[in-house]
């Protein structure tokens, strides 16, 4: 272990300590779910429907089951529970019992001795279907007499909702300039490198134990228990480090299938890992979205009214589609003051792959439209593009577009100021003039924000547990998955800081439902915020307890002069100390554990602006950012090079500056992929982009060295003033690049991604 370098360097908030997991990950020692191959392991795999809409008539497993090495083949009749999974709406079959609603629906589950036998057996399962008429886009799905996907959902609407503040419809007449247009964004794949996978086995007492690449180990138990008919208490979920998640591992992927398989293998462990093609077909995706926008302002640039209509294609099942749309709507008018807003949303079922959670959850779609509109409005009014954003930027005390009063830290204006003072902006005109022949240069801006937390009506809580181990170290029992964002490393840093410890005295345990406490999902920009707050309290309790117990051992009549140092408690005046190992041997187990809960604040003054929302409205804490892209366009080919990218971010206080930059640079990278190349293509419900050969994500040569600058704010409710920054940066690149392209050549692209073909075609019009 390369721990020597950190010896006795106390962990402190605000320092760029190397991440606690970096050494193991860099040496290939970290064990991800995919790295578990228990002895005697069996392999499970799903037979996928391959048709977009139909009725499953019969499944014939006779040929497949005859193959030597096939253990069992399960169909819907083997599912003892509800056979329905889903986070909020339980509408997705573990195995199809009647209707097939998209190509990825599983019709049978095969368990075999080896991967090779498994793939041969999957190919030998026969099933017959009756094809039904299908709908592949929201417009046809909403049409009268369209085939209905879910009986209880008339019109194929998962959700229809509205935010109405003031009187937008009539107030456009009071505007001096009105711009109006239509935008769309494509489906995006998460593209995490570790595909959906896990291993599961049944213990002798009947309990199912699973090691799964999941963002929500505690909630998974509810989905699995409900779907396959197990008491929640009989399911133990272990969630090691994830090889990426970005939202795509929030909600059951392999979980229910694996649990079902493990119930039929007499204690033998079962492994399931989706291949990339299966991930592309059956994994959740970012919703495609069609947006109509109308935005009006006074002649000085003051925003006055907005009316927009957002239609999200949620695919075959609900997953979190309604909540994705709701969050998009809550952000639909940007981080600005707009007195009159009418925001309409429709989330529509189609026979496409399932839309679900993805970083910037419904928000990056609306941001593209809104930030493009801001530039269009600035042009109409002859205003500077930065000035119009600064003029309208929300400040504390303002109402946002959903009518929520901003009472938490609101740093968008500060982010815009950083951008305005930066050489990349100040030298913009010179840089453009120095453009080489055959090229055009442009600069684009975008203001972004992203809510943190689950929002109203859903308790957003975490319960932290810290423990003094018998070998004298502090164990932090993380209960929220680390999918790569480094929350667990932040937890080590918080515990080290609070307890005066160096890394070798802190042990971080990844979530295990047997030993940690329910703390919600790793998602929604709430992971470090919520669990971090709970952890601070648990560490305060631990500190007081260690000092108190050390005082007992040292026969000191008060705690005043006792202090924590790495691995021990010291008493300054007498120069005596007690090591953690000594302390631990003196303390019974329950005395060595501190547990504390934090519940995130909710809006106390909920505006009466939202109709049709189910849960998750409103949010009160937002991260903010101001982005700038400088691009160069090849006029012969339309190819865009992003030369420079700057992201100024208000994430409140910063626990670890290096990890803060990681989130921003990574979010921008995923955003630039979304902006310029990522386009998940579906034809009649079937993915055409089946792997990384067809679905291109940015490589090292496709991206600039993104500059991340923090706006040093402070969120008073956050741990050390922090707000989550995992999502906010994803929102900027698409509108920033669109605005830069317009600045370069006068062409505006309304439909993402902004590819060379689209730019060239638009320039030649």
């Amino acid at each position: 272990m390369n721990k020597d370098t950190h010896s006795h360097t106390r962990l402190e908030i605000g320092k760029s300590h190397p991440r606690g997991d970096a050494a193991d990950k860099a040496a290939g020692r970290e064990k991800y779910a995919a790295d578990h191959y228990p002895e005697n392991v069996l392999w499970a795999g799903a037979v996928r429907a391959g048709i977009a809409h139909g009725r499953l008539l019969a499944v014939d497993v006779s040929q497949a089951i005859a193959l030597p090495g096939v253990i069992t083949i399960l169909t819907a009749k083997d599912v003892k529970g509800s056979n329905r999974q889903g986070i909020i709406h339980k509408d997705m079959p573990v195995l199809v019992d009647d209707r097939i609603l998209y190509c990825g629906d599983p019709v049978a589950l095969v368990v075999a001795e080896t991967k090779d036998i498994l793939s041969r057996a999957i190919a030998l399962v026969r099933f017959s279907t009756e094809t039904l008429p299908a709908v592949f886009d929201p417009e046809s799905a909403m049409a009268e007499n369209a085939p209905l996907l879910h009986e209880a959902m008339p019109g194929n609407f998962l959700m229809q909702a509205e935010i109405r503040k003031g009187d937008a419809e009539s107030e456009f007449s009071a505007c001096d300039a009105v711009v109006e247009d239509e935008f769309s964004t494509p489906v995006q794949a998460h593209g995490f490198l570790e595909t959906e996978n896990g291993v599961a086995w049944q213990e002798l007492d009947g309990k199912i134990v699973m090691i799964v690449s999941t963002q929500a180990p505690f909630r998974d138990r509810l989905e699995i228990g409900h779907a396959v008919g197990l008491p929640f208490g009989n399911i133990r979920m272990i969630s090691p480090a994830l090889g990426g998640g970005f939202g795509g591992k929030d909600g059951a992927t392999v979980q229910c299938l694996l649990a079902l398989a493990a119930l039929h293998t007499e204690g033998r462990p079962v492994k399931m890992q989706w291949e990339r093609e299966e991930n592309m077909l059956a994994g959740y995706k970012r919703h495609a979205c069609r947006m109509r926008y109308k935005l009006g302002a006074k002649k000085d640039g003051t925003l006055h009214a907005i009316h927009c209509n957002l239609v999200y294609d949620t695919g075959a099942y609900a997953h979190l589609g309604g909540e994705v749309m709701e969050l998009g709507m809550e952000h639909a008018a940007g981080p600005y003051r707009v007195p009159h807003t009418l925001i309409e949303g429709k989330c529509v079922f189609t026979n496409n792959p399932v839309g679900g959670a993805m970083r910037a959850f419904g928000v990056c779609q609306a941001t593209f439209a809104f930030e493009s509109m801001m530039d269009m409005l600035a042009d109409r009014l002859g205003m500077d593009r930065l000035a119009i954003r600064q003029k309208n930027a929300l400040v504390e005390g303002d109402e946002n577009c959903a009518g929520v009063r901003m009472i938490t830290s609101t740093g968008i204006a500060g982010c815009l100021d950083i951008l305005g003072d930066h050489p990349l902006w100040r030298s913009a005109n010179n840089w453009k003039q120095e453009c080489p022949p055959g090229r055009k240069r442009g600069i684009g801006l975008a203001s972004v924000f992203n809510a943190a937390g689950y929002g109203g009506k859903v308790r957003d809580s975490a319960i932290a547990k810290v423990e003094l181990s018998l070998d004298g170290r502090i164990i932090v029992h993380s209960a929220v998955t680390d999918m790569g964002q480094g929350n667990s490393c932040a937890f080590s840093q918080i515990a080290g800081h609070m307890l005066g410890q160096s890394p070798e005295f802190i042990e971080l345990r990844q979530p295990d439902t047997a030993t940690a406490y329910p703390s919600g999902s790793s998602s929604a920009g709430r992971t470090t915020y919520t669990f971090g707050n709970a952890l601070i309290k648990a560490c305060e309790d631990m500190k007081a307890r260690l000092i108190n117990r050390a005082g007992l051992l040292l026969f000191i009549d008060n705690d005043r002069d006792l202090a924590l140092e790495p691995g021990k408690v010291t008493h300054g005046p007498s120069k005596r100390d007690v090591s953690f190992t000594q302390l631990a041997s003196f303390m019974p187990h329950e005395d060595r554990v501190c547990i504390s809960q934090f519940v995130a604040p909710v809006c106390e003054d909920i505006p009466d602006t939202a109709k049709g929302f189910f849960i998750a409205f409103p949010h009160i804490i937002f991260a903010y950012g101001a982005h700038l892209a400088r691009i160069e366009l090849d006029t012969a080919t339309g190819v865009i090079t992003v030369c420079d990218y700057l992201a100024a971010t208000d994430g409140g206080g910063i626990i670890n500056p290096s990890m803060f930059d990681q989130q921003i640079q990574g979010g921008v990278a995923q955003g630039l992929g979304y902006a310029m190349m990522e386009d998940f293509q579906i034809r009649e419900g079937k993915p055409l982009t089946k792997d990384f050969t067809g679905y291109l994500i940015p490589g090292s040569l496709d991206l600039p060295d993104t500059i991340s600058i923090p706006f040093l704010g402070h969120e008073s409710t956050g741990p050390f003033g922090l707000k989550g920054v995992g999502e906010v940066a994803m929102n900027g690149p698409l509108p920033a690049v669109a605005n830069a392209v317009h600045d370069a050549c006068g062409v505006r692209i309304f439909h993402g991604p902004i590819t060379a073909e689209k730019v060239l075609a638009a320039m030649n019009l």
């Binding site: 970096a22 040496a27 995490f192 490198l193 790569g484 930059d661 990278a669 990384f692 994500i697 490589g699």
Partner: protein, 159 residues
């Protein structure tokens, strides 16, 4: 078939199917899970190993192809001075997030640094362009390879 090869400096003999993928041989049969499978089609680079000092995608290499060859995996880096420097640089530069691509990145960077420790930033990006990372945006990964290159160059000049 019986194959013999050198694995991280030690000779290895085993019997396997000639068409067994090297990634499965390493991860499942030999327990070397440091290299990862991200795509199975040679697009992501997470399964990169060195064969006779050059990068190879172990998901597209079959067991018969490594007979008689010298294979280095991420687990072998701790026995190489350049490997230790490289891993440390990844740790210190904050190049690691989820970490799934990192072993492959390091394997892709190693031959470059061995030959050209002073490689320019863009040459590093070219050397890593066959390896996908979804978390970092590559900035800190390239920083790490640069740092490692500087340190390796100093060591070489010192000899």
């Amino acid at each position: 078939m019986d194959i013999k090869f050198t694995l991280n400096g030690n000779s290895q003999s085993l019997s396997t199917e000639p068409d067994r993928r090297v990634i499965d041989l390493l991860r499942e049969d030999l327990g070397l899970t440091g290299i990862k499978e991200g795509c199975g089609t040679g697009e992501c680079g997470a399964c990169t190993v060195l064969m006779d000092g050059e990068t190879r995608l172990s998901c597209l290499t079959l067991a018969a192809q490594i007979d008689g060859r010298d294979i280095t995996t991420i687990e072998g880096l701790q026995d190489m001075e350049e490997g230790i420097i490289l891993q440390k640089a990844f740790e210190e530069q904050g190049a690691v997030q989820c970490g799934y691509c990192i072993p492959g990145m390091e394997m892709a960077a190693l031959p470059l640094l061995t030959l050209h420790p002073n490689a320019a930033r863009n040459d590093i990006k070219i050397a890593l362009s066959g390896n996908l990372c979804r978390c970092t945006g590559y900035v800190k990964i390239v920083d790490a390879v640069e740092q490692a290159g500087r340190e390796i160059a100093v060591k070489k000049e010192g000899l």
